[in-house]
């Protein structure tokens, strides 16, 4: 106020050397303060709740049974992701094929496996033995058979879990991969053709490596979603982390404390996956000017 009154900006000596004071918005700080206060209050309430015994959580973090559950969850995630990616690649190439039948089949596959919830699929695979009692390999419509065994022996809880997770994963992966392939410039295909490269070779050497850059970020997210989706297999006693933790709490009645154990390990696994994703993306960025 006083400066404005005492100064005349038309005079050069007054307009030089003016100090700039930046505007400081107050509202975001009020919001931030409130958020911090709420978080602290929530954590405090959790920590001091007399009904919760956190020493139980700590005691079970590295329990043998829990660690075994973590290991099963890791196996389920990695195996399902691997199968999902390979199967997804085949389905994606089918959808991109010039052959109408292959295209239709691939489209149908994606439609079915993306529509059925993973939980429903797990239940179906977990109970498949009720419908199909024996699995046998032979020549159809003849008596020739190579082997035959009860479905329940062939598809135990672990295999059923893998089937359910991998199949629904493959449908999503197919779409992610297809998107990546379509993102590759058409000129790349023409250049490869003009050099005499076959379609197969072009796909393998030119298209997929470039598509990978587009595919990896959503694929990473998909993998993280999958790690968490493995908890669904507890409904068919899949033996994963959540199954184990539930088993323990069923005896100790320390339900929330045991869920705390699960939360801890899911956090650890997802964090490791996120770090891996970060480095993979950085590696694939070679040759690309950002």
């Amino acid at each position: 106020m006083t400066a404005e009154q005492g100064m005349d900006l038309r005079r050069p000596e007054d307009s030089a050397d003016l100090v700039v004071v930046r505007r400081r918005p107050v509202f975001p700080w009020i919001l931030a303060g409130t958020a911090v206060a709420l978080t602290v209050w929530f954590l405090f309430a959790l920590a001091t709740n007399p009904a919760l015994d956190w020493s139980e959580t700590a005691a079970y973090l590295f329990n043998r049974q829990v660690l075994h559950g973590v290991w099963v969850t890791v196996q389920l995630s990695v195996i399902s992701a691997a199968i999902g990616i390979i199967l997804g690649l085949v389905i994606a190439l089918g959808r991109l094929s010039h052959n109408k039948v292959l295209r239709t089949l691939a489209t149908g596959y994606i439609a079915v496996f993306r529509s059925v919830p993973a939980l429903v699929q797990l239940l179906v695979w977990g109970n498949i033995g009720l419908v199909i009692r024996n699995v046998s390999l032979g020549i159809p419509f003849t008596d020739i058979g190579f082997f035959s065994m009860p479905t329940n022996e062939l598809i135990g809880p672990f295999t059923a879990s893998i089937l359910g997770l991998a199949l629904s994963e493959s449908a999503y992966m197919a779409e992610v991969i297809r998107g990546g392939v379509l993102a590759v410039d058409k000129g790349q295909l023409e250049a490869a053709s003009a050099l005499g490269m076959t379609h197969m070779r072009t796909t393998r050497r030119i298209v997929l490596p470039q598509a990978l850059r587009v595919i990896v970020p959503p694929m990473g997210n998909q993998f993280i979603t999958l790690i968490k989706a493995t908890s669904l297999v507890s409904v068919i006693a899949g033996g994963d982390l959540l199954t184990q933790v539930s088993n323990i709490s069923a005896m100790s009645y320390r339900v929330v404390e045991m869920l705390g154990v699960a939360v801890f390990w899911y956090l650890v696994m997802v964090s490791i996956a996120s770090i891996g994703q970060h480095y993979l993306e950085r590696f694939l960025a070679k040759g690309v000017r950002e």
């Binding site: 000129g187 023409e190 250049a191 003009a194 050099l195 005499g196 040759g287």
Partner: protein
């Protein structure tokens, strides 16, 4: 017509022999019964307004574009098809690829493989498709890079190069397959004006070495200096063809005159 063609065939097999090629995209007729021969060692520039069919014609020469009628012979051999009596059967993919290797192509937008270094771009096809030993391919790639003035950039990625440098790498990549014929599809149209010269210099050098070249271009100066023959196309037909002194400096057809008035 037939007698004439036979007579030419007797004397010398032309590098490019296009006979009565027609092509339509939907309702639009892009090529209408086009015939063209290019002798070995000849440099031919295709000029004309956009939509005249010049790029499509160029792309039929290595079967990037299929034809609806007529046939294309490269060095006396049908490209893309095999003739049995009155019909042309499209070759298997493998055979098409084998025949394509003898024809190099350079694109408007370079189309280098961005995930490979300059050297990897050049040896990809000779090693993977031509079954050349890696060591030999690398040696050849280095000498080609020297020829296009880029020996220092062998390990750079395409994104680290200027447009002009990328196009010179693209030319080296095409040459690495030892083609008998080089096709250029508006090779300088996507370049900043100050980078056009370096690419044209490489092409001029290539023409001087006796390479047979078919060039779709808007660079009238280049056509005038380097081309043995300039072909003006419009609406899917060849309107006028002859030495540059005639087609560019003294065109006889009204379409050619109008086009040149607009671009020069």
């Amino acid at each position: 017509m037939t007698a004439n063609a036979l007579e030419t065939a007797d004397r010398e097999v032309p590098m490019v022999d296009v006979r009565g090629v027609s092509k339509r995209f939907g309702h639009q007729e892009v090529l209408r019964h086009v015939s063209l021969t290019v002798r070995t060692g000849e440099v031919v520039c295709l000029i004309g307004p956009s939509g005249s069919g010049k790029t499509t014609l160029l792309r039929t020469l290595n079967h990037l574009e299929t034809v609806d009628r007529g046939r294309v012979l490269i060095n006396g051999q049908l490209i893309g098809y095999r003739q049995e009596q009155n019909k042309l059967y499209e070759y298997s993919e493998k055979e098409i690829c084998r025949r394509r290797r003898r024809v190099g192509m350079v694109f408007q937008h370079f189309n280098l493989f961005p995930h490979m270094t300059v050297l990897q771009n050049i040896i990809e096809a000779p090693v993977g498709v031509g079954k050349k030993p890696r060591r030999v391919a690398i040696e050849r790639a280095r000498s080609l890079l020297q020829r296009v003035g880029l020996s220092e950039r062998a390990d750079a990625y395409p994104s680290e190069l200027s447009g002009g440098q990328q196009q010179r790498v693209a030319i080296a990549r095409a040459l690495a397959m030892d083609p008998e014929l080089m096709l250029f599809d508006e090779p300088t149209s996507a370049l900043d004006p100050e980078l056009v010269g370096e690419v044209l210099a490489v092409m001029r050098d290539l023409a001087g070495s006796g390479m047979t070249m078919v060039v779709v271009t808007h660079e009238m100066g280049f056509a005038q200096q380097v081309a043995d023959r300039v072909i003006f196309m419009a609406d899917g037909i060849i309107v006028e063809s002859g030495p540059p002194s005639q087609v560019i400096n003294a065109p006889t057809h009204k379409r050619t005159q109008d086009f040149l008035k607009a671009v020069l």
